[in-house]
């Protein structure tokens, strides 16, 4: 538990008391789990908790009608969640004034911020979040494989996928009204949990994260089958940064990476 | 480049430097800026022009010219060429060829003699030392009397090394010279 949990609680209580927000979205402890807490009354803030086990990305709740109807609201947000909020702002899903941030990280509570303040904090304090080194190692290993080996590796990884879409549900970026996997005229992606449908689903899910994924890890945490989704996410984020010098979730006014262009974008592979 | 038909000289320049002499549009900026142009029998732009032509006469005229030897390699032409060509590098190619084909202009024999004296000194000792270089140059150019008064002064200033400094890896240097000579003959 972070040292200054009381500060989070009192900040939340103040926001609710002053009527600045109608809802505080945070975490609470349930047994060994950390689950979302929806606090609407100042006297309930005592349940709010925060520690490193709070991995769920609460920004994902911002698309839910019952949550949206309680705006303005406050969210307990670690840096990745803040980045999600930046993305959601850039994609016009939330606007300044609707969401207040209770900023936290491993060190503790860092105050109450509006979205502009959050952007500033992110760029000043968390401009470089080092990717997990084990992810980079694994990627390097995969990239060193032959195409056949890579194909086999991924078919093994995707094979257990039951298409439960928990990954989608956990992701704040997956805010489509209806996911394309559910389209049937025409059917974009086979919904049967077998190899080609799974392959297409995971490719398109990863591709739809290009220029957007903040690497919070919620999708992978949510996956009951332990599919290493973060490998794909990190790979895409790395490529986007390499190719387009763009890093996701730092600029609330960012143009979409896929959806903008530069004349001198690289094209050495196009003949 | 595959579609361009190059003259023999143009092709040689392209091979060694990657430059396409046909891109030269004869603006003359190289000539305009060349500090040595007034000592040349062909201007730098004329040299470039002749390299574009595929007749034997053009090649002869270039390789027998004094101009290619008069180039000091100062790179002013290359620096300012609006077509971003490298005439200075072309000159290197042409000099090498002129020497190899024994076409060097008699008017510029002294320059060639100097270069040869220089390389001979390096080939034998690994380094250049003024006295052996000057001695070799004077003999081969038969230019005995110029600057004779300068030598004692240089000695006095400690600027004329009499003794050649011989490096340990002289055999390596000889091999390098030999291999390069073999490559050139091919």
């Amino acid at each position: 538990m972070v040292a200054n949990i009381n500060e989070i609680q009192s900040a939340a209580a103040a926001l609710l008391n002053e009527g600045k927000v109608k809802l505080v979205l945070g975490y609470r402890v349930r047994g060994n789990d950390r689950v979302p807490a929806f606090v609407t009354q100042a006297d309930q803030v005592g349940c709010l908790a925060y520690d490193s086990a709070c991995t769920q990305n609460l920004a994902a709740y911002l698309r839910k009608g019952e949550v949206r109807s309680r705006m303005p609201l406050a969210v307990v947000a670690r840096p990745e969640v803040m980045r999600s909020l930046m993305l959601l702002t850039a994609e016009s899903q939330i606007a300044e004034g609707q969401v207040t941030v209770l900023a936290v990280d491993e060190q503790g509570f860092h105050g109450v911020l509006d979205l502009a303040g959050t952007a500033k904090l992110l760029n000043e304090q968390y401009a470089r979040i080092a990717p997990d080194s084990s992810l980079m190692e694994q990627l390097a290993k995969i990239e060193a494989m032959t195409p056949q080996e890579r194909s086999a590796f991924w078919s093994e990884q995707f094979e257990p996928c039951t298409r439960c879409y928990a990954c989608r549900a956990a992701c704040p970026g997956c805010f489509c009204e209806r996911c394309i996997v559910e389209m049937n005229t025409p059917q974009w992606i086979s919904t049967a949990a077998e190899s080609h449908g799974n392959f297409a689903w995971h490719m398109i899910r990863a591709f739809h994260q290009a220029g957007r994924c903040v690497e919070c890890g919620a999708c992978q945490d949510a996956c009951p089958q332990g599919i290493p989704l973060m490998l794909l996410n990190h790979f895409i984020a790395r490529e986007v940064e390499r190719e387009f010098d763009a890093r996701n979730g730092y600029d609330p006014q960012a143009e979409p990476v896929i959806g903008s262009w530069k004349q001198d974008d690289k094209q050495e592979y196009i003949r | 480049m595959s579609h361009t038909q190059q003259s023999e000289l143009g092709a040689r320049i392209a091979e060694q430097t990657g430059m396409n002499v046909l891109e030269c549009y004869q603006c003359g900026k190289c000539t305009a800026g060349c500090p040595m142009a007034k000592y040349m029998d062909l201007t730098p732009s004329q040299v470039m022009r002749l390299c574009q032509m595929s007749d034997e006469g053009a090649k002869e005229q270039v390789l027998r010219s004094g101009a290619i030897w008069t180039c000091a390699g100062c790179l002013t032409c290359t620096q300012r060429c609006p077509k971003q060509l490298d005439p200075a590098a072309a000159m290197d190619v042409l000099r090498e060829l002129s020497n190899r084909e024994k076409m060097t202009s008699p008017q510029r024999r002294k320059i060639l003699a100097f270069h040869k004296a220089f390389l001979t000194t390096v080939r034998k000792t690994g380094r250049m030392s003024e006295f052996p270089l000057v001695r070799r140059y004077k003999i081969s150019s038969r230019d005995f009397f110029s600057d004779v008064l300068l030598a004692p002064l240089m000695v006095a200033k400690g600027k004329l090394g009499f003794k050649a400094h011989k490096i340990k890896g002289r055999s390596q240097i000889k091999t390098i010279f030999q291999t390069c000579a073999d490559l050139a003959r091919k």
């Binding site: - | 040595m36 000091a72 620096q79 090498e96 100097f114 270069h115 030392s129 240097i173 390098i176």
Partner: protein
């Protein structure tokens, strides 16, 4: 102690000896060790690339390979011609793997391309950063200098990082000495380079024009970084003057000599006594020689008597 690799090149043990002396002096002052490349050879200068394009790369290749073997990450090549040949070789090797393979067979030494070549100006600016700037007690106030870059310290886009038409690599260091940099037109004009012996008349013409412009701009001396330019402007100035082309008595100093003066190094240590056009008088404006001081004292003594 910092250390930098050192490739003196042939002319620094002969005609360009002042450059060697002053560089070593400054390096010592800035507490930078110069590690000379063992058994280095001539870079081929202008002669090699005139006659054999393979040789023109192979000779510098051996030097680079030796430096790499010796573990030298950066190597100073004070002579502008050596610098140009060595760095040019690096550039071309980097561009073409085929060339690298070819050179490896010719020279029979491996070279990965790790050695970085520093020019005289880059090196001296580095020394300034490493503390030399704080060790220049003498202010050369009133000294008007014409920085002369010539060809090989201004041109060659892959090699020189300065502005080719108005280079400025020497200016900061010169200003730090308190000298005044004059605005003149011939900072990048060619002096005739290696034609000193083989096309002397042209060299006299070209060098004369440079000297004339420096004089017209009010310079007290020309400052250069290249031994070839130095010998043309200094040694050949005698002939220029004796043949009546112009009368200049224009000392030609290496940048390292100017810095050495400001650092308070002695004329002999800098090699200023070795110039053809006397440079000592100029030096003595800022560093009166002992006997001159004595004479002055003697004079005043006499008066008092």
């Amino acid at each position: 102690m910092n250390s930098i690799g050192y490739y003196p090149g042939c002319s620094l043990s002969g005609g360009g000896i002042e450059l060697d002396l002053s560089i070593r002096g400054l390096a010592q002052l800035a507490e930078v060790e110069l590690r000379e490349i063992d058994d280095w050879n001539c870079c081929g200068a202008t002669a090699a690339h005139n006659l054999d394009h393979n040789l023109a790369i192979a000779l510098p290749y051996r030097i680079l390979a030796l430096a790499e073997k010796q573990g030298l990450g950066e190597v100073l090549a004070p002579c502008a011609a050596c610098f140009s040949r060595l760095k040019g070789t690096n550039v071309r090797l980097e561009r073409s793997g085929d060339l690298k393979a070819k050179m490896q067979t010719i020279v029979d030494l491996p070279y990965s391309g790790s050695v970085k070549i520093l020019s005289i100006t880059e090196f001296l600016n580095r020394l300034m950063e490493l503390g030399l700037a704080d060790k220049l007690p003498k202010k050369l106030t009133g000294l008007k200098v014409a920085p002369y870059y010539g060809c090989l310290l201004s041109r060659g886009e892959d090699i020189v990082s300065d502005d080719a038409e108005s280079p400025s690599a020497m200016e900061a260091a010169l200003r730090a000495t308190g000298a005044e940099v004059v605005d003149w037109n011939f900072a990048t004009e060619c002096c005739g380079g290696g034609f000193s012996m083989s096309l002397t008349d042209a060299v006299l013409d070209l060098s004369n024009a440079i000297l004339a412009d420096a004089k017209a701009a009010g310079a007290d001396c020309i400052v250069t970084g290249c031994p070839m330019c130095h010998s043309n402007l200094d040694m050949r100035q005698l002939k220029i003057q004796s043949s009546g082309m112009g009368q200049y008595d224009m000392p030609v100093l290496y940048l390292s000599e100017v810095l050495g003066l400001a650092a308070g190094m002695g004329c002999d240590q800098l090699g200023l006594n070795r110039h053809f056009i006397p440079a000592m008088a100029l030096a003595h404006r800022f560093d009166p020689p002992p006997q001159a001081a004595e004479t002055a004292e003697a004079v005043s003594d006499q008066r008092s008597n």
